[in-house]
């Protein structure tokens, strides 16, 4: 099934088991969500559990936090991650800090789902990859799947967590297909996924860039180890360091802009903890450091050419 269907199946499973799970967001009800992730759930669970909301992300998030404080499990959908900044204060100042500042008197078991990155040619406001804003926010868990199977398992694990999760769905992968069990299953949120073992270099990536990296490595026959982070914060440092110590060469690929992005922390952590194992600079291939231009999105995102240039630079580095 597609990633959209896998997410829908996860929500369905979770709602079936636990009547404290509640969906809310703009157009998630009658319309089934702009990407149809919540399709059919209003009919099945009723408007008390699948709530269309007024047009206010601030409210969607804050309302969800309140529900969580009273023991419900809110799963808000934000139509595009680009619009989530209108509720940023609730995310940074309330959702992320509530457990800490009350020393656990209140927790916020809540999963904020939102599609991110490009793929629909939606210009500067339907294409943003804002994950670094969330990974830098202490208290948040930031998860992003790359396959339908992972999407369902990671979403179910996120729902079980007693902490707020920013669940970033790569919209360019919404319609890729894969095997997905109908039944409930989970995936460890604290473990990265080694998609392919390899010896010559380590490619660390996640979310929307995973298929690109896999195809590029395969097509060009690169002996690379590919790590799909799955969870960006807290990321799985052991898997990263083990691989880097083996290969000594690191390439980081993500669609978000480079400067001060997620790749920077990965590089910095490696430069702190494994510098003696490195035989080459740490390189990043990322989206450009500009807003995503409507007509030229295809030139904005990482591509095979840029990845292979970096791979070759790393492999040839003396």
């Amino acid at each position: 099934m597609t990633m959209v269907k896998a997410l829908n199946s996860a929500l369905d499973n979770a709602m079936e088991r636990d009547d404290s799970v509640i969906l809310l967001g703009e157009d998630v009800g009658t319309d089934g969500g702009v990407f149809r992730v919540t399709d059919g759930l209003l009919n099945k669970y009723g408007k008390e559990r699948v709530m269309d909301t007024p047009l206010a992300e601030l409210g969607i998030i804050g309302f969800g936090i309140g529900m969580a404080m009273e023991g419900l499990k809110a799963i808000p959908e934000i139509q595009f991650q680009d619009f989530l900044y209108t509720g940023m204060d609730q995310i940074i100042n309330q959702m992320a800090k509530l457990r800490y500042r009350t020393n656990g008197d209140y927790t916020v078991p809540m999963v904020l789902r939102t599609p991110y990155a490009g793929g629909v040619h939606g210009g500067p406001y339907h294409s943003q990859s804002g994950e670094a804003y969330f990974t830098h926010t202490q208290g948040l868990t930031v998860v992003t799947p790359s396959t339908p199977y992972d999407a369902k398992g990671l979403l179910l694990s996120s729902i079980e967590l007693d902490d707020p999760v920013i669940f970033l769905e790569p919209k360019r992968s919404y319609f890729i297909k894969g095997e997905v069990p109908e039944d409930y299953y989970k995936i460890d949120l604290r473990k990265a996924n080694v998609l392919k073992e390899g010896d010559d270099l380590t490619v660390i990536t996640y979310g929307p860039s995973v298929p690109l990296v896999q195809n590029t490595v395969k097509k060009n026959n690169v002996n690379a180890e590919i790590i799909d982070l799955r969870t960006l914060n807290p990321f799985d440092i052991n898997t990263i360091l083990t691989s880097v110590k083996k290969t000594g060469r690191v390439l980081i690929v993500h669609e978000a802009p480079k400067m001060f992005g997620v790749g920077a922390e990965l590089a910095a952590t490696i430069a702190e903890k494994a510098i003696d194992y490195l035989s080459a600079p740490i390189l990043r291939v990322t989206g450009l450091d500009i807003p995503v231009p409507f007509a030229l999105e295809d030139y904005y995102v990482p591509n095979e050419r840029r990845i292979m240039e970096a791979v070759n630079k790393l492999l040839n580095y003396q």
Binding site: V34, K47, D82, G123, P124, H126, A295, L296
Partner: protein, 344 residues
């Protein structure tokens, strides 16, 4: 009863012609989108009378900060069709180099603000522009448009409050098409409310009172009425802000990504009495400006003209990819210069 307006019959007829042009263009742009020439398109049908009325009401010194569904207003203001269509089709001639989605105009020299996608994201900027107008003792008022769903946003509240507090010369114009994508505006508009919720339980035009100024509700299907009320509001705004709620109906889908059959039955089909084209025709006939023969010939003319236009613009070249790294900063940072090598 049709009151006299302060503009000539010729102006009204020209405005009507633009209204018809908008209707035809809309259909053809929607079609271009289905054929893949536009990755995304925001239909206009149902809004034309509002657009033309607003465009007609805006005078030289006024400032217009539109939202993403205001094509006709911009045209009626006198912006060259070439500028508007180059933007919609993101061609190399677009003054913003195809960086934004269709209908996201930015024409500073015509006193038109830069349309932004996040709903209501322009409203607080509009208040700042209104303040600058007063500070610089500029003639004219500011008018900004937005949908009914936009009234639920933080920005609406904050902008309305700032406008009230500083008593700004501006018109808040709500194009109430009764839906924010699938969510209906009011509890009473259709029968679907057992299944879902709505945007608000407060009448939009009355919301102005919360900020200490007045709001009115008008018929948004007759462009002459829209013109008259909007012009009056722009004049009154010199003494402080005004809110207009213009009632209309989004006759098509919200966008090309939307299927309205999922959430409503269309209660205002094309050609019905509430279709702005029909309602506006009626007014024009009552005013003796239009007759059936003219209707037909204008239709034929616009049908042909808009086909030619869309055929032309959908095939115009896109902006050069090397432009994409330009103009992020006044002075280019080192990393942008480095990234020029990445664009090939």
């Amino acid at each position: 009863m049709i009151e006299k307006t302060d503009i000539s019959k010729e102006d009204l007829l020209n405005a009507y012609r633009n209204l018809v042009m908008e209707r035809f263009l809309d259909k053809k742009m929607l079609n271009a989108s289905k054929q893949g020439f536009l990755p995304f398109y925001i239909p206009l049908m149902g809004h034309e009378a509002i657009h033309i009325g607003i465009g007609l009401a805006i005078r030289n010194n006024d400032f217009f900060y539109p939202y993403y569904r205001d094509f006709g207003a911009v045209i009626e203001m006198g912006i060259p069709l070439d500028m508007a269509l180059s933007q919609v089709f993101a061609t190399e001639n677009d003054n913003a180099l195809g960086r934004s989605m269709p209908d996201h105009f930015s024409f500073k020299k015509y006193n038109i603000g830069a349309v932004i996608t996040p709903v209501a994201g322009h409203l607080t900027a509009a208040t700042g522009i209104a303040y600058a107008y007063r500070y610089r003792k500029k003639e004219g008022s500011i008018i900004t448009t937005f949908g009914d769903g936009a009234t639920s946003t933080p920005d609406f509240h904050v902008a309305m409050n700032f406008a009230g507090v500083y008593n700004l010369p501006m018109v808040f114009f709500c194009e109430n098409n009764q839906f924010a994508i699938s969510v209906p505006t009011y509890p009473t508009e259709n029968g679907a409310f057992d299944q879902t919720y709505m945007e608000t339980r407060g009448d939009i035009y009355k919301k102005a009172e919360a900020y200490g100024f007045k709001g009115i509700r008008i018929d948004g299907t007759d462009f002459v009425e829209v013109y008259r009320q909007t012009r009056k509001a722009l004049e009154n705004a010199k003494n402080g802000p005004v809110l207009i709620e213009a009632m209309s109906y989004r006759m098509g889908p919200h966008s090309t990504a939307d299927d309205p059959n999922k959430y409503r039955t269309n209660t205002v089909p094309e050609g019905s009495a509430k279709d702005p084209l029909i309602a506006s025709q009626k007014t024009m006939k009552d005013m003796d400006i239009l007759d059936d023969g003219m209707i037909k010939s204008i239709n034929d003319e616009m049908d042909k003209k808009t086909t030619e236009l869309v055929n032309k613009y959908e095939r115009e070249p896109k902006p050069d990819k090397h432009t994409m790294l330009d103009n992020l900063y006044e002075e280019e940072p080192w990393y942008i210069s480095e990234e020029r090598g990445d664009v090939q």
